[in-house]
Amino acid sequence: MNGEEADVVRIAFEQILDAAEEPAARDVVDAAVAGGRRARRRRLALSATGTMLFVALTATAVTALPGAQPQHRPVPLSPPSVGRPSPDRAPSSASVPTPVSASPHPGGPSSGGSPGQGPRSAP
C-alpha cells in the first residue's frame, strides 16, 4: 500500500467521524476509576489467596515428605565379643571378623572365595 492510499483511507475515516453526530459525552472517568479500583482489589485478593494456598500446600508437602521424618534409625550393633555369628545372617566383614578376611595372603585358603562374594581387588 502506498502513502497516497493511506491518505485516502485516513481522509475517509475523518469524513466518517465528521458525518457522525457525536452525542454529548458523559464523563466515564469516575466510573472507570471506581471499576478499576474494584478490579485491582479483586486481583490483589486473588493473588493473596493464591500465595497463602501455595504456602500452605508447600508446608503440607514438606512435612509429608518421606525424607523429612527421621526414618533411618541406627541399628544397635551387637557387641563383637558376644556369641558367634548366626548362620542365617550373611557374613559381614564389618561386624563379624572372620579368619578369611583376616588372612593377608590373597592366594591363601580363602582365594576361592565363598559363593556369592565378589572378586577382591589386589592389595
Binding site: 475515516f13 469524513q15 459525552a25 472507570a32 478499576g36
Partner: protein, 171 residues
C-alpha cells in the same frame, strides 16, 4: 486512601480526561455506534486504571490504552457473535435521506461491513498511524497477518464502496 493511591488516581484522571475524546473517536471507528464507543472507552479506562502502576512504568500509556481498546472491541465482538447474532445485523443501517452526506455514509456503511479484525487493522494502521509491527503486537498476530489483513481489508472496502455508491446513485 493513602498518599500513593491519591497520586496514582490524580495521574490517571489527568491522562483519562485528556484522552477520552480521542479514544471515543477511535472506538466509534471500530464499532460504528457512539453508545457502544462510550462503553468501550469506559471498559478500556477501567482496565488501564487497574494496571496503571505497571503501565506508567513502561512509559507508552497512550499506546497501551489503544491496544486495550482494540482488544476489548475484538473480544466483545467475538463473545457477542458467539452468543447472539452478527454485528452487521445489529448495527443500524445508514439512513440515506436527501439531507445526509451520502458518500460519508457509504464509507461508514462499507467500513461496518468489514469483519471486525480487518476493521481493527485498518483503524490502527491508517487512523492511529501505527506500524505493521505495532499493530501486530497489539492484535497478538504476526506481521504477515497484519499485512495480508490490511491488504484484504482495503480491497474489500474498495469493493463495498463501489457497490454501495452504485446502489445509492440508482435510488
Amino acid at each position: 486512601m493513602c498518599v500513593r493511591e491519591e497520586v496514582r488516581e490524580r495521574e490517571f484522571r489527568a491522562f483519562a480526561e485528556a484522552r477520552q475524546a480521542q479514544l471515543r473517536r477511535s472506538a466509534y471507528l471500530l464499532c460504528g455506534d457512539w453508545h457502544q464507543a462510550q462503553d468501550l472507552v469506559q471498559i478500556t479506562l477501567m482496565k488501564l486504571y487497574a494496571a496503571w502502576g505497571r503501565v506508567r512504568k513502561d512509559g507508552n500509556v497512550d499506546g497501551y490504552a489503544r491496544t486495550i481498546l482494540t482488544r476489548t472491541f475484538i473480544d466483545q465482538h467475538r463473545r457477542r457473535r458467539w452468543r447472539e447474532e452478527p454485528l452487521t445485523e445489529l448495527t443500524d443501517p445508514p439512513s440515506t435521506g436527501p439531507e445526509t452526506p451520502e458518500l460519508r455514509l457509504v464509507m461508514r456503511s462499507a467500513l461496518m461491513r468489514l469483519p471486525p479484525r480487518y476493521r481493527a487493522v485498518l483503524v490502527l494502521r491508517y487512523w492511529e498511524d501505527w506500524s505493521v509491527e505495532q499493530t501486530a503486537e497489539a492484535l497478538r498476530v504476526s506481521t504477515g497477518t497484519v499485512k495480508s489483513q490490511s491488504a484484504r481489508g482495503l480491497a474489500r472496502l474498495r469493493e463495498l464502496v463501489g457497490d454501495l455508491a452504485e446502489e445509492t446513485s440508482r435510488r
